[in-house]
Structure formats: C-alpha cells, structure tokens
C-alpha cells in the first residue's frame, strides 16, 4: 500500500500489520490503517476482498467465529485491543456495530434501544433510561416515526426503520466508534438515502467506519476510503483522491468498473 499524504493527527484506532486467518485460510494479509476520530472511513472492494473481515476484527467480533485468528496490532486510543488485559465486553461497548441485515431483537422498540444501557448499567433510574432512549432514537432520526408506539415490536418496523433502530441501539451505549457492515445493502434507495443522511449527522460525534459495495455511497458519505483486494489493502487515502486520482492501477480499474 502507499502511505500517501494521509496524516491523521489524532487516530481513534490504529492497525499495524494485521493478518486474519480462518483456520488455514488467510483472509487478511498485512493490513495497516489508521481511523480518524472525526471522520467517516469507507472500506470498498469486490466481494470476498476481506473488508468485512477486517471490520469485524476492529471490535473482536471475529472472536465468535470458530477457528478465526488475528495477528498484528490493533489499538483503540493507543490501547491494544487484543491484549489479555482488554475486556472484550467493554471494547464492544466502545466500538459499536451495525450489521448488513437489520437485526432488531424480538422485543419492543423501547427495549431494543434500552438493551445496551441496561446491561451496562448506564441509567440509574427509569427517567434516565427514557432520556437515553429518546436521545438515541432522535440521533438515529427515528424518534418522530416511533415515539407513539415505543411498545410495539421492533421487528414490525420496515427494513429501513429497523436499520435505523439498530443504529439507535448502537448509539444508546454512547460508543466512540461505530462500525457499519454494508448497512444499506438490504434496503431500498429511499431508506438508503435516510441512512446516508444519518451518517452525515453522526459524523464528528463518533468515528465511523463503513463497509460498502456501493462506490457512489462511499464517495457520498466518507472522507477517507480504503480499497481492499484479495485480502490486502491496495490503497488508502482521501476519498476525493481515491475517486478522482487513484495512484494504483488496480484501484483505477475497480472504480472505473473494470472488475468487481
């Protein structure tokens, strides 16, 4: 990869020489990247290039996959997240995640959002919890649509609303980083536009890393873009540079639609 003019003075997360293995198979090969605090970083690349795998290693969700192994160094605020002293539960409270398919729990809308604050004991009483839920739903742009039916099941919402509910659920524990794994791939264009709008609004409040298939989406929402191919990081830079003036031939081929 090229270390270009990219200097992030205050990186939220840093990754150095990261390799990820699933059993014998190496899914990620020597990736180093810094994620900025107030930036939206997009991971793009063809299917199977390892971008989701790398994303999942940032909050150790790969731990739940049998046979997965991560080597190298990944740090959050300079603290090694794979160190034995790191509590994975606390890590995931600080690095939240939104999945490809909306996965609300089969509970009420309120309980979906309140789930995280409850397990982490963030709200000492009911009115505090109400406040946290309301604030999270507002930030996720869902409050006006659901405020009168907080008791209804989260699974009864539309796909786009469910995904915003999942974002609200992630926001509710007040994380520092939000990882989004192709959050719009199961949504229609209107719901997608709402999520993108939401990402704009959340920028600056959280460090956001988004994996996407959709290059236009990466161009619209992100300030930094990383292009992955075959498990390696091919190019990482300012989004405008990657899309207008890629340095690598492979990047150029991909964004001009020659493969992928």
């Amino acid at each position: 990869m090229t270390q270009d003019d990219l200097t992030i003075s205050d990186p939220k997360m840093t990754a150095h020489n990261v390799n990820v293995f699933y059993g014998e198979k190496q899914a990620i090969n020597d990736v180093s990247i810094d994620v900025g605090t107030e930036l939206v970083t997009a991971f793009i690349g063809p299917s199977g290039c390892g971008k989701s795998t790398f994303l999942r290693s940032l909050n150790r969700m790969n731990d739940t996959v049998a046979g997965a192994k991560v080597t190298g160094h990944i740090a959050l605020d300079g603290e090694d997240i794979y160190a034995p002293s790191m509590d994975v539960v606390q890590l995931r409270a600080r690095v939240g995640m939104v999945f490809q398919k909306p996965n609300p729990f089969p509970k009420s809308i309120y309980d979906n959002v309140a789930y995280g604050p409850r397990i982490h004991g963030l709200a000492p009483n009911k009115s505090d919890l109400d406040g946290i839920v309301e604030k999270a739903l507002m930030r996720a742009g869902l409050w006006d649509e659901v405020k009168d039916r907080l008791g209804e099941s989260g699974t009864a919402l539309s796909g786009g609303q469910q995904q915003r509910l999942c974002i609200a659920r992630a926001i509710a524990v007040d994380p520092e980083v939000i990882l989004m794994d192709e959050p719009c791939s199961a949504l229609d264009p209107i719901a997608t536009a709402k999520i993108e709008e939401l990402i704009h609004e959340l920028r600056g409040k959280f460090a956001i890393v988004i994996v996407t298939h959709n290059m236009q989406q990466a161009a619209r929402v992100s300030q930094r873009t990383a292009f992955f191919h075959l498990g390696t990081l091919v190019e990482y830079g300012k989004t405008t540079d990657i899309f207008t003036n890629p340095k690598q031939e492979r990047t150029k081929d991909y964004i001009t639609g020659r493969y992928g």
């Binding site: 969700m61 539960v89 995931r92 999945f99 397990i119």
Partner: protein, 458 residues
C-alpha cells in the same frame, strides 16, 4: 388336506416369478418380431404380469383365510352329529374347537368325549373348503396372469401401470397407521359409551371419590378427580420442575458453550437416555429413589411418608424427559438467527446476558411447544407410576405421600380376573379416552406453536 396359507402364498409367489420371466421374454420377442421399440423396458412388462398374477390371488387368499373357518363350522353345525351339542356358551365352543383340533391334526385324540362324533364332519368340511380355496386361488392367479400376458404389446404402457400400482401400495401402507389410529379411537369410544351408560360422565370427570373395587358393585364410585390430580402432580408439576430447568440448561450449554467435541459426545449420550425402556426407569424409581426419599422425609418429620411417593415417580419421570426438553430447546435456540446473537454481543453484552435476554426469549415459543409435548408424554407415561407412585387415590399436595395416576389405574383395572363388561373394566376405557383427548389437545397446541414459531425465522 388343510389350507396352509403360508405355503400357498409361496406357491403364487413362485408363479409370479414365472410370470415375470415370461412377460419379460414375451415383450422382447414381440418387439423383435415387429421391429418396434418397446414403450416400456422389458422388466416392466414382467412386473405387470407378475403383479396381475400375484395380487388378486393373494387378496383372495387373505379373504378366504378369514372366511373359510366360519364356513367349515357352519357345515359341521348343519350335520347330523351336531344335533346333540349344548345350545350356547363355553361348553359348546370347547367341544367344537376340540373336534377341530383333532380333525386338523393339531391334537391326537379328543379330550371331551362329546366331540368325538364331530371329528369326521370337521375333517370332511376342512378338506372340501381347502380344495375349493386352492382351486379358486389358482384359477384367479392364472386368469390374472393370462390377462396381463395377452396385453403385452410393444406400445403397451406397462411402466405407467406398474408405477400406478406401486403408488397404490405406498398409499395403502400410509393408510395403515391412520386407519389403526381411527380403529383405536373407535374402540375406546364404544367401550367408553358402554361405561357412561352405567356411570355418568359428570361423576367420572368431577367426582372426588375413586373406589372402583369396593367389593359390592352398587357401592363402587368412579370419581376421577383424585386420579387427574395425581397425574398432574406427577407428570405436569414434579416432572416438569425437574425436566425444564435441567433440560434448558443442558440445551444452553450444548448450543452456546460446549466445544464441538463435547457436543459430539454429549448429544448421543442424551439420546441414549431417551432410549432407556421406561420399565428400567420404573425399577430405578421404585428401588432406589423412593426408599431414599422416604428416609429423607422421615428425617424431616413429614407425616404419611410412603415408599410409594409422588415425588419419586415425578423426579424419575422428569429425568426421563430431560432429553426430550433439551433437544426441543436445542433446536429452538439454534433456530434463532446468528445475527441476533451478534447484535447483542456487538453491544457489549456478555454471552450470559445474550443467552438470558435475547436467545431464550426469542426461542421461547419453540421451547414452550417442546414443554407441552413433554407434558403430554409425561401424563401418558405408565410404567414408572405403576411401579413407584402407588395405587391409592389420595388427593394430597404432599409430594411424599402416595398418589395414583390415570395410567396406573388403567393398568390396575385391566389386570387380574375381571368380567369384561363390568363397570370397573369399562372405566379403564373411559379413563383412556380422557387421557387420549387431553394428550391429543396438548400435542395439537404444541405443534401449532412450534410451527408458527419456525415460520417466523425462515
């Protein structure tokens, strides 16, 4: 000459084999001669002939085996020698069967002197009907075979016919189980109706005094409530208190924590537990658990502690259905999408919190269905309660006391010397009917819940 159905069946099977060979050869021959392509491959023509040869004859054989003894007896009764027979009853039957056994060579000499004159008529009639039967059967086999044989032509669609017959056979096979169920229900129903002519349904369902064998028939009472209570206490309360927590914890361990290696060993072991004959559990309950519990109860100073206790039967029954509950819960937890689990873990929930707050609530409908199925199994279980729960119909909530269940009473009512039309014998059928209806309803509700829940995630 007697009518030996098994030998005759072999005979027509042999003929069918010849028919098969002949049919196949003929189809080949005809095709070669006409220089035409066969519609069906030769063996289908063979099967067509063989089936036509075999099926009607076998059917006749079955019917004739059932009908001919009656015809023979009628013939004998019409003869001169039968004039002196007693009119009805056991004696008449005994004489007739004595004569029949001698005539058919199952016995060397008559044991009842009165049977002696009947031996010859029996032998004649047996002979006659055997020849009629064999003749008719062979005629049918040959007629069927010839009919099929003459139909063979190159363009004859033997394959579709054979496939139709195969389908018919499969259909009949599946009907056996269904029709048997109907038959069982009907027989239960008829006997129960006879019982309810003697005792009102209200007494059985709501009466509180169960004393079917008080000695004097007019004093017998058939109040079923103590039995129903005993059944619920053992099968639905004590057994479930044991089986639900242990089964659920087993399922959670196996689905969430166990390494694949452990799972590979533990699951089959649990299935073995499910395959232990219930009588073995009965021994265990009666010989090991019950005495231990009694001593425990005496130590605690509980009155009426009996060696036959509801607790012993209930605990062992609970152990018996642990695999049942755990495998249903296992399936339900596994059916909760991985995304649900990931969603919770990604919020910083511990595996434990994830299981308690997300997986189990999401799996609950399926688990409930499994529990209802387990209850319906437990209340229908017989051996354990017969051996360990006792037979005295007490209405007590004391788990150390002896109680009885519907199934245990059915066994008691039907064993020993009983007239088959007395109220106490018929009561067994009425109890069986109640049990059948309750378990049927439980199963229907349980299966609906399970099905509805499965649809939600697929």
């Amino acid at each position: 000459m007697t009518f030996n159905a098994a030998a005759l069946l072999l005979l027509i099977a042999g003929l069918a084999l010849i028919g098969w060979i002949a049919g196949r050869a003929r189809s080949n021959l005809l095709a070669a001669r006409a220089q035409a392509k066969l519609h069906s491959r030769p063996q289908y023509h063979g099967w067509y002939v063989a089936l036509w040869l075999f099926a009607p004859a076998a059917l006749f054989l079955a019917v004739w085996s059932a009908v001919s003894p009656g015809l023979i007896t009628n013939d004998v009764l019409a003869s001169e020698a039968a004039k002196d027979l007693p009119a009805f009853g056991f004696e008449r039957g005994a004489i007739l069967s004595d004569a029949r056994n001698v005539a058919q060579g199952k016995q060397d000499a008559v044991r009842i002197p009165a049977a002696a004159p009947l031996v010859a008529p029996y032998a004649d009639a047996t002979h006659l009907y055997a020849w009629i039967g064999i003749g008719a059967m062979l005629a049918l086999a040959l007629a069927g075979g010839l009919y099929a044989f003459t139909r063979i032509k190159p363009d004859f669609r033997a394959r579709t016919r054979v496939e139709k017959i195969v389908m018919l056979v499969l259909l009949l096979a599946s009907l056996v189980a269904i029709l048997t169920t109907f038959g069982i229900v009907l027989s239960l129903l008829f006997e129960s109706i006879r019982f309810f002519r003697l005792v009102s349904p209200a007494e059985l369902l709501f009466g509180t005094n169960w004393a079917p064998t008080s000695g004097a028939p007019q004093d017998d009472t058939f109040g079923g409530i103590p039995l129903f209570w005993g059944t619920i206490l053992i099968g639905a309360i004590i057994a479930m208190i044991v089986a639900i927590p242990i089964g659920m914890m087993t399922a959670v361990y196996l689905t969430q924590y166990a390494a694949p290696r452990v799972r590979r060993w533990v699951k089959p072991l649990l299935e073995i537990l499910a395959g232990v004959p219930t009588v073995v559990y009965g021994y265990f309950a009666a010989l090991t658990v019950a005495p231990a519990l009694r001593e425990f109860a005496v130590m605690l100073g509980i009155p009426n502690a009996s060696t036959e206790s509801a607790l012993a039967a209930g605990i062992v029954m609970g152990v018996m259905i642990i695999p049942f509950v755990s495998s249903m819960a296992d399936d339900s937890i596994n059916a909760v999408p991985q995304a649900m689990r990931d969603g919770s873990l990604a919020l910083g929930a511990t595996p434990n919190e994830t299981i308690r707050q997300v997986l189990i609530p999401a799996a609950l409908p399926g688990v409930m269905g499994g529990i209802l199925l387990a209850v319906s199994r437990a209340i229908g279980e017989t051996m354990i309660v017969v051996m360990a729960a006792g037979l005295s119909a007490n209405m007590t909530a004391n788990p150390f006391a002896s109680v009885t269940t519907v199934t245990a009473q059915i066994v008691k009512l039907l064993t020993g010397d009983q007239e088959f039309d007395s109220a106490k014998t018929l009561a067994a059928f009425a109890l069986g009917l109640v049990l059948f209806v309750v378990t049927l309803l439980l199963n229907i509700v349980a299966l609906r819940i399970v099905k509805k829940y499965r649809e939600a995630y697929e």
